[in-house]
């Protein structure tokens, strides 16, 4: 196995087995893990406490127990998260950090069915005001306080600033990776690309950084080969399960950039510099744009995606629409119109974590590839 293959296979196995990652972390450090619900929670605070932040993104699953607690029109990811709560999957977490940027999450934050304590906080939505930074820094101060109590550790400003640097380094390396991956689609196929990114959710960040850094430099040493397939940008909450990515691959698509809440949206901006770490983390949210969960009366998401398409020389955008996700559904008609006006082609596919039949997606992707 080449070094590249080894790194990819290690990261893939971590992204497929979060439980083992948690156990390994415990063995190594003696410390446990804290769950992080989507979206945009300040993981750095958990990292600074010496605990492992673990991303909670549900999983491919048939829904049965959750039916009693959620109507069928709740989004697919939260159906699966609810199902896993009821199965006790998350009960080894010391705590769960729970942001509430959509109506579904507001409700879900009040009905955690597992045993771990839940720490809820609210992102401000009038984001460009200085008052919003102050409000969020205060929310984060309370998050820190609660974590300190639950985990029985002191989280100093110094440790927190240090963790922010660790995370910023990871963000930088990830941006570099996604750029590189666009040049080597023969090596980094859609599924591998996703696994490399997803592993971030289950690893101490500096470890992840080191591996991706090495991967980047290995990639850079290889010649860039001509790619005969089509290049696409993904947008949405997430592009799972893996079957979806395999369908893209089988039809000759390469993912050259993404605007997914689970992927690039998390690392396209660094946490800005400053002295007060909580204020810095709050300011990240102010500077962040182009996401359905970060209110923006100018709706810069469409133009941002069009820049992304241009910058990555993509042939089209694939809209990965999470089933029953209303924030994303509201953005769609606007950027769709903007794409049409700019002559950018897009394909709409539905993301459903419960389904096991992908015939429809297959057909859609196939005919789209013929059309391009």
């Amino acid at each position: 196995m080449s070094r590249i293959e080894t790194i990819i296979s290690e990261l893939s196995s971590i992204s497929n087995n979060p439980r083992k990652a948690m156990e390994d972390y415990k063995k190594e450090t003696g410390k446990g893990s804290v769950g992080v619900m989507p979206y945009y929670a300040p993981e750095e605070i958990i990292h600074a406490a010496g605990f492992l932040p673990v991303g909670i993104w549900g999983g491919q699953k048939s829904i049965s127990k959750a039916r009693a607690y959620l109507p069928p029109f709740a989004c697919s990811i939260m159906q699966s998260v609810m199902e896993m709560q009821l199965e006790g999957v998350y009960d080894d977490l010391e705590a769960v950090l729970f942001p509430v940027p959509c109506d579904t999450l507001k409700c879900l934050s009040q009905k955690w069915k597992g045993t771990s304590p839940v720490i809820v906080f609210t992102h401000p939505q009038n984001r460009k005001l200085e008052a919003a930074n102050k409000f969020l820094a205060e929310e984060y101060r309370l998050v820190r306080e609660k974590l300190e109590t639950i985990l029985n550790v002191k989280i100093t400003d110094e440790a927190l600033n240090q963790s922010i640097e660790t995370y910023n380094e990871n963000r930088k390396v990830m941006r570099e990776f996604t750029d590189l991956a666009a040049n080597y689609p023969q090596i980094i196929d859609p599924k591998k690309r996703h696994a490399i990114i997803k592993a971030r959710f289950f690893m101490e960040k500096s470890k992840h950084t080191a591996m991706v850094k090495e991967l980047n430099s290995e990639l850079k040493s290889l010649p860039v080969e001509a790619f005969t397939g089509k290049k696409v940008v993904l947008t949405g909450i997430m592009a799972e399960p893996n079957e979806v990515l395999d369908i893209l691959k089988d039809n000759g698509f390469a993912v050259v950039a993404d605007d997914l809440a689970q992927e690039s949206r998390l690392f396209r901006n660094d946490v800005p510099s400053g002295t007060d770490p909580l204020y810095r983390l709050a300011k990240w949210w102010q500077e962040f744009d182009g996401c359905s969960l970060a209110t923006d009366a100018k709706k810069s998401r469409g133009p941002m995606m069009m820049d992304m398409v241009k910058g990555s020389k993509a042939d089209a955008v694939v809209v990965c629409m999470m089933k029953f996700c209303d924030p994303e559904e509201f953005d769609y008609p606007i950027y769709y119109r903007q794409f049409e006006e700019a002559g950018i082609k897009s394909l709409f596919i539905e993301i459903d974590l419960e389904t096991t039949s992908f015939e429809q997606t297959k057909t859609r992707v196939q005919s789209f590839s013929e059309m391009l």
Binding site: A68, Y69, L70, P71, F73, A74, V100, P101, C102, D103, T104, K106, C107, L108, S109, Q110, K111, V120, F121, T122, H123, P124, Q125, N126, L129, E130, A131, A132, K134, F135, E138, E139, S292, T295, D296, A297, K298, K299, M321, F324, D326, P327, E329, F330, D331, Y332, P333, I334, Y336, R337
Partner: protein, 422 residues
């Protein structure tokens, strides 16, 4: 000016609703500003600046109640709005699209021509507030971008921990200042703080009369059917910062008190059981839901929904105003939500609860299971839930509704008999 002194409350309600739409149309004609507003966004700022206001949720409810929703929902559908999103938003965004087409081409689209609802002018700017849902943020973003107009946002963060902390109130009060600055720019004139204080005081008088009506359902038998509140709600939404609301509500409360004194009650015949309705009305099937309950001898005497507009605060005190607009029960933690609903149920001396699982409204549906469970443990009252939607007529099944309320009726009967046999 029309003489309103001799009008009944019901006449006043119709009169002022029409008057508000006419004022907005007139303002547009005269080149004055029109604003579209979320239903529980603070109205005080715009009214103090003499801006004509339109409330899309109320307008959409009107379209729904007059059976005109499907036509405009289709327009939203064509624009790419998923049928899973809030139907108020879809009705309004579809309607906006028709108005926009008309403005661009000079030709009135057929669907607009045919629409049974009041004609409204396009807005010059919009104001939104997420105290009832974040959907209102997404919806208004889209209005602002589609029409290329300013959007004033009042963000009231979800109160995951009660009581509401001062730093949250400070953040909201800061946004009030920002809204004033934005308004000064949009209107091209200085903000009138004296008038603003008067508008705040007016709002408090309207709210006081509104609360007076709501309190009357605690009488047993009740002079008020909660369904009436659904109708009168149009004015607490659209005119709470004007005397229209105060005048109408005072009249209605007076009428109801007079009825009470004379022994005239809302339920003709004998009210047998009293229910709480949790959630929004099913506008396209309002008659069906009303009659269904009535035929079983049930009257609705509890609903937390009208309480959303109980925005009482101290005029002149921005922090107190901030608190009033953020403490709305669906913007608070489950404990508080349950507490508010529990008071509504006991205040209305209710025998059971009906939960509207609203396909349009995730926020008002996803905690119903937990809410119902906690409340039942607390008060032992039976409950049912039914599937519905406040404006998309396709998401409601009359047969299911009937079966569920019959079941509730049975349980309430048994409960009552059980009690009287003890």
């Amino acid at each position: 000016m029309t003489d309103t002194t001799a009008m009944s409350a019901k006449e006043l309600l119709g009169f002022y609703q029409e008057e508000l739409y006419e004022e907005a149309r007139q303002a547009k004609k005269e080149g004055k500003l029109v604003c579209w507003s979320a239903s529980v966004a603070p109205s005080e700022f715009c009214v103090a600046m003499d801006v004509a206001m339109i409330y899309p949720e109320t307008h959409a409810a009107g379209i729904g109640a007059r059976k005109g929703a499907l036509d405009v929902l289709e327009v939203a559908d064509e624009k790419g709005y998923n049928v899973d999103t809030c139907s108020y938003a879809r009705v309004n965004l579809g309607y906006m699209e028709l108005l926009k087409q008309e403005a661009l081409t000079g030709i009135t689209p057929e669907k607009l021509e045919k629409s049974p609802a009041a004609r409204i002018p396009l807005p010059d700017f919009v104001i939104t507030c997420n105290n009832i849902c974040n959907t209102l943020l997404k919806w208004y973003e889209n209005l602002a971008v589609e029409l290329n107009i300013p959007c004033i946002i009042i963000d009231v963060p979800f109160n995951h921990t009660m009581p509401i902390p001062q730093y949250a109130k400070d953040y909201i009060a800061e946004q009030f200042k920002e809204a004033i600055t934005q308004l000064e720019e949009i209107c091209g004139k200085k903000f009138d703080y004296d008038k603003f204080l008067k508008v705040q005081e007016q709002t408090q008088r309207s709210v006081a009369q509104w609360n007076r009506i709501a309190a009357l359902s605690s009488h047993k038998p009740s002079p008020l059917n909660g369904f009436d509140l659904f109708n009168y709600m149009a004015l607490i939404v659209c005119a709470r910062s004007k005397d229209y609301a105060e005048i109408t509500f005072k009249k209605f409360a007076d009428e109801l008190e007079e009825n009470l004194n004379k022994g005239i009650f809302a339920f003709k015949g004998n009210e047998q059981k009293r229910v709480t309705w949790e959630g929004i009305a099913v506008w396209p099937h309002l008659g069906h839901t009303f009659k269904g309950l009535k035929n079983l001898g049930n009257i609705m005497t509890g609903s937390a929904y009208p309480g959303l507009w109980n925005v009482s605060y101290t005029p002149g005190d921005m922090s107190s105003m901030a608190e009033a607009y953020t403490r709305i029960y669906i913007n608070t933690c489950l404990d508080n939500k349950v507490k508010v609903l529990s008071d509504v149920i006991s205040g209305g001396k209710c025998d059971g609860v009906i939960y509207h699982q609203n396909r349009s409204c995730k926020l008002m549906s996803f905690l119903n299971v937990e809410t119902a469970d906690i409340l039942q443990k607390e008060n032992g009252l039976p409950y049912v839930s039914f599937d519905g939607d406040q404006t998309d007529p396709r998401n409601f099944s009359p047969a299911q509704f009937d079966t569920r309320i019959q079941a509730l009726d049975e349980m309430m009967k048994q409960n009552k008999e059980g009690v009287s046999n003890e």
